[in-house]
Symmetry: C2
């Protein structure tokens, strides 16, 4: 199965960064440096944008210490891009790859980046230029099809679970309604991770709303009032992508809806959805203390709670890409399969099977009321968070002192 | 110096929780249990509110394991309150203390809680009821006078510094303007902590705005444009309490400004300040990508990045309170003094010296432009974050690949 192709290797990072995307970079660089057929290891700055502008660095010159420093840092060390190449853009990419004798092209990214890679690869094929192209998955949204999960998601999920563990205790201390808006445009995996913060039945988040189910503002109000009546407080996890009758609740608010180059509505980097939901509760109930936070970019960039499972898998995904592309002479997208409890293997899917497709939460993960998740989701996520994660909810276990003045 | 007072001890927690407030509770309970003169150790649920309603638990019954579980959890295990006792309320508190033979009263809280304790203590004195009252400081705002710093602040500061470390790398990956709103009504200590995320001169946060200096919306715009021109990006830390001409910028937005029982305007639990600043940049510059987050309640409740220095000091503050109150028969507020680099001692201040007073950032910590902090602040904060904290900013050090197609 040894390939014969010889030349330079290029690696790039695209889309939204994660806490472990540099692990995949390090894995690919370390593995790539073992092959004599890999002559140079280039890194494109700012993804495909760096390729067309010939802004590349020599990664073989990076010291082991620097590479490890990078590997343990969040965000894209090679910088990123939101560019979505059209045909003209793809031709430019190809000319640069050809000029630099790039024969192994690795792109770390989500489904948009996978689509970019597919287009570039097709262009190279049409031109008869021999090149291996392998996509290395990453996304905090966990929305790549064919993957059990994607690198970056477990650490972001751990941040969300850690966050709710503390926030639920905070809300218990000073009761009221607390809403946190979590990233997730179409897929609710990250929002659902709040479930893992719960240790006891009355721990929050008590309500979890996902983009997979149509959101009803009136139903939301009923749910909140019911929980508040029962527990005297209510902690809510809401996905930024929740929709009512097919229209994003967030988009209903914004007068000028900002869209990125992929035509996606800008949901993050604003507190408006949380504020609207908060105001709605304040206006329509008698609940006095209502607060809303939006976790925002902390979810994908926070250093302090990387899952060790995620970290290892991200590096292995990068290594596997080089094994597939260089050693096995194959194109495709590295795909994580769950093979045990807990064990994974890295397989290769066709680029077109991953590109521009979106996976959402399976039905069995969502409860019948559409305001929470089922135990099956907890079983799915638990091993991904790493063994150093424990749910919150510590509370004092002590007998009551008998009243003296108010006894009756 | 051994006191003679004998009876029950009561401990309560008030105001906004912190990540280490339960360490102070554990320290007080552990130390209190060593004295035979301390007959029972009671915990009031929901602060002073639990006292007047006789909602108390027997903390001497708590197991060592449960106490340690609590100690390492954020938020107030005894639950909290925002009640500010008036004279009638104070009389009720006194009647309960008297009925339960409470002779040692410890209240963990900020300057509002200290004021509450002062009033109750005065009431007891007026009634001729012998009781020791000791305030145990806590506040993420770090705004208690006479203290070098207060338990709770270092861990919240570490969260802010950790957060900016990752967020700056995220912003470097996908450049634009990023604004994060940080807690701090009158004092900018927590916002200023963003400075500790910086490792290299071009690391963010590039601009830091504090409530100690009048905020100018036009000056803000000039600052952002200047940084953006220089670095192609700009990361901003903004205190929720920033004011323009004495009026909170956040309050200018809200139609119905919510106030708590202390008459304070509700600043947290809303993304409106960040969103307004973001919209202002978008409307008045040509910068395309502008994002704003509000750190919100994560800052005081996040479990994952407690400072080990803060944790130890919070526990020692609780222990010291019992030593002062029970062993030394004194009233007052435990005060942290810095005695070395790095070392502290715990002293006792008069309750009236702490109560209802607010410390703000000293002049020498703030730069002359009012949009950043000086090295003196960095020196002040660095040891408080603990030795396991390192600033972010890891980046690839690699030579550029020479362009082929675009060489000229």
């Amino acid at each position: 199965m040894n390939g014969k192709l010889k030349g330079n290797m290029l690696i790039a990072q695209g889309g939204g960064p994660t806490a472990v995307i540099n692990r995949s970079l390090a894995g690919a660089v370390r593995r790539g440096s073992r092959f004599s057929r890999v002559e140079g290891i280039y890194g494109a700055l700012n993804g495909v944008s760096g390729i067309i502008n010939e802004r590349m660095v020599d990664l073989s010159a990076v010291t082991a210490g620097n590479l490890e420093d990078i590997a343990s840092s969040p965000a894209s060390a090679l910088l990123s891009t939101r560019d979505k190449p059209d045909n003209e853009y793809c031709e430019k990419i190809f000319r640069v790859l050809e000029a630099h004798n790039i024969r192994f092209f690795f792109y770390i990214g989500g489904n948009d980046s996978s689509d970019t890679l597919r287009i570039v690869k097709e262009y190279a094929d049409n031109e008869g230029y021999e090149m291996r192209a392998v996509h290395i998955p990453k996304t905090v949204d966990n929305d790549l099809v064919k993957n059990d999960h994607t690198p970056g998601y477990p650490s972001a999920a751990r941040f969300v679970a850690e966050a709710f563990s503390g926030l639920d205790l905070d809300n218990r201390s000073l009761p009221g309604v607390y809403i946190a808006v979590v990233m997730g445009r179409h897929a609710g995996f990250l929002t659902a991770a709040g479930e893992l913060a719960r240790r006891s039945p009355d721990d929050g988040p008590h309500l979890i709303y996902l983009p997979e189910r149509s959101f009803s503002v009136s139903g939301f109000l009923r749910d909140v009032e019911e929980v508040y009546k029962k527990h005297g407080r209510c902690v809510v996890a809401v996905s930024e992508g929740i929709q009512e009758d097919g229209v994003p609740v967030a988009a209903k608010l914004a007068e000028n809806v900002e869209k990125d180059a992929h035509g996606n509505i800008q949901l993050s980097g604003s507190g408006s959805l949380g504020d609207m939901l908060k105001d709605h509760i304040k206006s329509n109930t008698s609940i006095g203390r209502v607060r809303a936070d939006t976790f925002g970019y902390l979810q994908r960039s926070f250093r302090g709670c990387v899952s060790e499972v995620d970290s290892r898998e991200a590096e292995e995904a990068g290594e596997s890409a080089v094994i597939f592309g260089v050693e096995q002479d194959k194109d495709g997208s590295v795909t994580i399969k769950r093979t045990g409890d807990y064990a994974v293997s890295y397989e290769l899917s066709a680029l077109e099977d991953i590109a521009a497709k979106t996976k959402v939460m399976p039905e069995e993960f969502i409860n019948s009321s559409g305001n929470g998740v089922n135990p099956a989701f907890r079983e799915y996520l638990r091993p991904l968070l790493g063994c150093s994660f424990t749910p919150g909810g510590a509370r004092i276990s002590a007998p009551r002192i008998a009243p003296i003045l108010s006894r009756s």
